[in-house]
Amino acid sequence: MTTMTYAQAIREGLDEAMAADNEVFLIGEDIGEAGGVFGVTKGLWSKYENRVLDTPISEEALVGAAAGAALLGGRPVAEIMFSDFSTLAMDMLVNQAAKTSYMTGGRLTCPITVRMVTGTAGATAAQHSQSLEAWFTHTPGLKCVAPSTPADAKALIRTAIQDADPVLFFEHKMLYNLKGEVPAELDDLPLGKGKVVRSGSDVTIVSYLKTLHEAVRAADHLERDGISAEVFDPRSLVPFDRDGLGASLERTGRLVIAHEAPTTNGFGAEIAAIASESFWDLLKGPIVRVCGRDTPVPYAPELEGFVLPDAQRITQSVQEMMKQEVARA
């Protein structure tokens, strides 16, 4: 076991993928000698100079270049410095890469990995803080991965690069300095395998990225109140681990979903729909979402704190859920 940060873990995953396969290259803005705005690719340029490509500030061209190279067998990893800027590459992501396999009847594939630097970094405001994953989960043909720990980040970036399909890899800015243990010989981790990160018997809290850690803290608070919360991390949204969700609901019968993205039409709405369609009989009461409020992300810390979910809001929502259930009974 080695202790490393989430950023280091992603870097190690990239490094191993590049060492293992000459077709893997990195492309993005300021990712080369500068090592990326958040330092994720630091040191890779000196090791693989001609495979770490700094581009102009041209998101459509850089994602398009990645996609075009992938059509000829390349395994590019593009970085979108702030996932908010993916709007400028939307045609390449949604109309080109996502649909290559389908519209060619499976005769051509576009195996790109796009690293989407996601979520608030604290006072980063409306155009550098968004959590846009639901846009992409709503586009058939894209896989969406959202690792929450260093070990998962390293394992899943390797899986994403090897995957035959376009994979969007959502990395939360506030997790980059999070430390965790990563085994020296890390097992491969397929997409679509969630993980129970904390066991419980009264309620399942499904969460990912930074909010997952808020959910774990909430579960600690709730335990003191005598409420046993299980925390389930799906790790990838597409494909989504329905069986893992069902198994957790078997144990708890109650579902809370927490994510930083806005509530309305967030991926939590899909999780709620999966639960009510497939696991209705297991549910003891209404599903509750504790998500970003339906506003752009504001600047001032007290405004941002009001909009984005945290451990306190998750704790209160679970307590309220339990109270209402008693009231209904």
Binding site: A69, L71, D165, R242
Partner: protein, 332 residues
Amino acid sequence: MSLPVAKLEEEKLLELYRKMVLIRRFEEKASELRQAGFIPGFLHPYIGQEAVAVGTCAALEASDVITSTHRGHGHMLARGADPKRMYAELYGRQDGYNRAKGGSLHMIDTELGFLGANGIVGGGIPLATGAALQLKLKGSKGVAVSFFGDGATNQGSFHESLNLASLWKLPVIFVCENNLYGEFTPQDKHQPIRDIARRADSYAMTGVIADGNDALDMLRVTSEAAGRARSGEGPTLVEAKTYRHRGHYEGDMGRYRSAHEVEEWMAKDPILNLETELLQDSRVAQQDLDGIRNDIEEQLDAAAAFAEGSPHPDPGEALEDVFAGPNGASSA
């Protein structure tokens, strides 16, 4: 100036002619088949622009790759695609190039390095740039060619890609088919310049104007551009001045164009031009040309019959190919 006809072997000239007539007749027949109810989707006929695709592709090698447009049948046929599988795709049948999942706007032939028509104006330009990047990274001598229209040169994808391609000296040829209209809008209403080749200057790239109604001129210009690309000198922007004889899509009557303008361009028909030149040179007899035309009629009749005989897809196939790899399904 185009290559003197005398410099090309007769066989090659006839091949240019054959391909141009094949495209023309493929498109005319597709129009009839659509009117007869055999083709369910849109068609954007390439009629009038045949010399661009045929001249350009004649300069390419097997290792080169192409991205195309919504008006892509001509590029694909010029590259050597099989009309049987093209009609089967247009019919929406299992033997189509894309197994009935793409239709006209998304057709591919990976074996020919034909990376696809594209339903998005300017959508193929970044992809060709990326393909050229991959060719360069692998040390291949291959070249990527991106076809697009005048309308696409107002998209960000065009400007971003030309900048990147020139900066990195990528082996790519940007072929702009300036047919004077972006959909229904004339060029003077969609951009403040007449010569799109000038846009190359902004990107420190060679820009060339070619006669898009002259296959030999296209062949010459593309050969030079490919030579520069293969020797590491980077991209070229070729502007092919041409005209589409028909509307933007099959069914568009093109009322936004004057009869005079259409007549003027009809007189510059690229197939008639080449025919006249070939016959004047008297190295080719009328009966050679007639023979080619007859063969094409037979080939296209057989292609349409093949398409009609090809099985319809099973509705359940709609669920296949969303993902190429495992673990695709997000929901059961």
